[in-house]
Amino acid sequence: MEIFLQQLINGVTLGSIYGLIAIGYTMVFGIIGMVNFAHGDIFMLSTFIALILFLALTQILGVSSVALSFVLAMVAAMALTSLWSYMLERLAYRRLRKSFRLAPLISAIGASIFLSNLVYVLQGPRNRPAPSLFDAVIKVTHGGGYDVTLSAKQILIVLVTALLLAAFWVVVQKTPLGRAQRACAQDMRMAALLGIDVDRTISFTFVIGGALAAVAGVLYILYYGVVNSGDGFIPGVKAFTAAVLGGIGSLPGAVVGGLLIGLIETFWAAYISSDYKDVAAFSILAATLVFMPSGLFGRPDVEKV
């Protein structure tokens, strides 16, 4: 029971991060019908941006408040990562949108390789450690010689995720840009007939996806304490799996899918094998695609791939 509870806490934490990344996959797919393979690398890039900014703030600029540095680094990482995500669409995808279907996918794979190599070249191959923050740990309960703990980090991760998802939900549901985004995802040509600038709306989608991926990046490095240039791939695939499992194109699906993948991964590692925990995500991806291609919240009528 105690182990179960602990894994639940860990799984929700991890799942929050996957959910934030998954939204970028699902929104982009929802509007232009492509899988943005470089989104995982955008996420990885954001962890480096946040790390460098945080170190610059605390060690060079001498900001003494850790919380302030953390918030500033996160906001700045969101802005800069959004910019990268925006540029990615402008440079690598936009011109290919009217080309044959595989063209933007191939370009996305190229962009993914480019981004991870760029970070590799600039930052080197080694794991980059991050300063350890918010280390307080709360003991929730104890049983069978086992402490169930909840760390400040975990609380922070879940809170920040919940807060950003709520803000994101309001933007998508209640603002003109969010409305335009949904309209374009449903019928792009009709949206254009009504005067909506489709290109701008697609850019907005990439910006939002990039910003949420950056939040995930900050939380990821906070949680794990290290990152390297190859770290876009595995979390990227897991978040993509989350999006597919939730039903690609569905925003609530991305969040629920993220949580499920996080939970499955931690439980798998605890009860089955931690060596093969990544296999779980890949197996779910394959099984979902074969047996339930429209996912949990997906509509069977989406035919966009």
Binding site: P176, R179, A183, M190, A192, L193, L194, I196, V198
Partner: protein, 244 residues
């Protein structure tokens, strides 16, 4: 109102459009004057919907000139054309199915001045009270007639100068058709709204139209006042008695 001397609002000269290498419009000339109801009739596959979409640059005219209010719009982006004051209720209505009626209308007003939103909403609810009753329902749950009303209402939300309607009567019960045509006539009469109407339901369209065009195979073959066309035996044979 016959307005032969009023200003030309929309004009097409030698417009050609293609799907791949197949010509769908083969050199269309057409004028729509301010304040009139213009109708375009023609059998299925003649190119009517293509013409409506080509005016909005989707597909883009490969040859010829399209101008609106004296301005060349031939190569403008679709959304920029809409912002000049053209609005369309397209073939198939294309309601956003996973948005409510109200949200569909909000999207219709996306480029309008937000100060006029409430007034625009009142106006379309007054024309189609049914939409007000259904405002919280999702677009996909509406009946065909309601969807058509919504498509027209959505097009009106930006307060366009030219309202383009592609087969608003398609698949609707006669009573609903009558209601929709009355609404169109009313908008034209009371507000002087210019209307460009595409119909296979030629009888209603010709009766309503100040000027009508007949399209065959990507070309305008005949034009004149709606009632004159209605009286022509060849039109009756092709588009009324024999047709649908």
């Amino acid at each position: 109102m016959i307005a032969t001397d009023s200003k030309v609002l929309l004009s097409l000269r030698g417009v050609k459009a293609f799907y791949g290498n197949i010509a769908a419009l083969k050199g269309v000339d057409l004028d729509i004057r301010e304040g009139e109801i213009a109708a375009l009739i023609g059998s299925n596959g003649a190119g009517k919907s293509t013409l409506m979409m080509t005016i909005f640059g989707d597909p883009r005219a490969r040859e010829g000139v399209i101008s609106f209010d004296g301005r060349d719009i031939t190569s403008m982006p679709t959304h920029a054309i809409a912002r000049l004051g053209l609005a369309q209720s397209p073939e198939g209505r294309r309601i956003f199915p996973r948005m409510t009626v109200f949200e569909n209308l909000q999207i219709g007003a996306a480029i309008g001045d937000p100060r006029y939103f409430d007034a625009s909403l009142e106006r379309v609810y007054a024309i189609f009270p049914r939409l007000k009753e259904r405002s919280g329902q999702s677009g996909g749950a509406l009946s065909g007639g309601e969807q058509q009303m919504l498509a027209i209402a959505r097009a009106l939300m930006n307060r366009p100068r030219l309202l383009m309607l592609d087969e608003p009567s398609l698949g609707l019960a006669p009573l609903v058709v009558k209601q929709i045509f009355e609404a169109i006539a009313d908008l034209n009469r009371r507000e002087g709204l210019t209307v460009f109407l595409v119909e296979q339901n030629a009888y209603h369209a010709l009766k309503l139209a100040d000027r009508a065009y007949v399209m065959v195979n990507g070309l305008i073959t005949l034009s004149g006042p709606g009632r004159d066309l209605l009286a022509m035996p060849e039109i009756r044979a092709a588009y009324l008695e024999g047709g649908r």
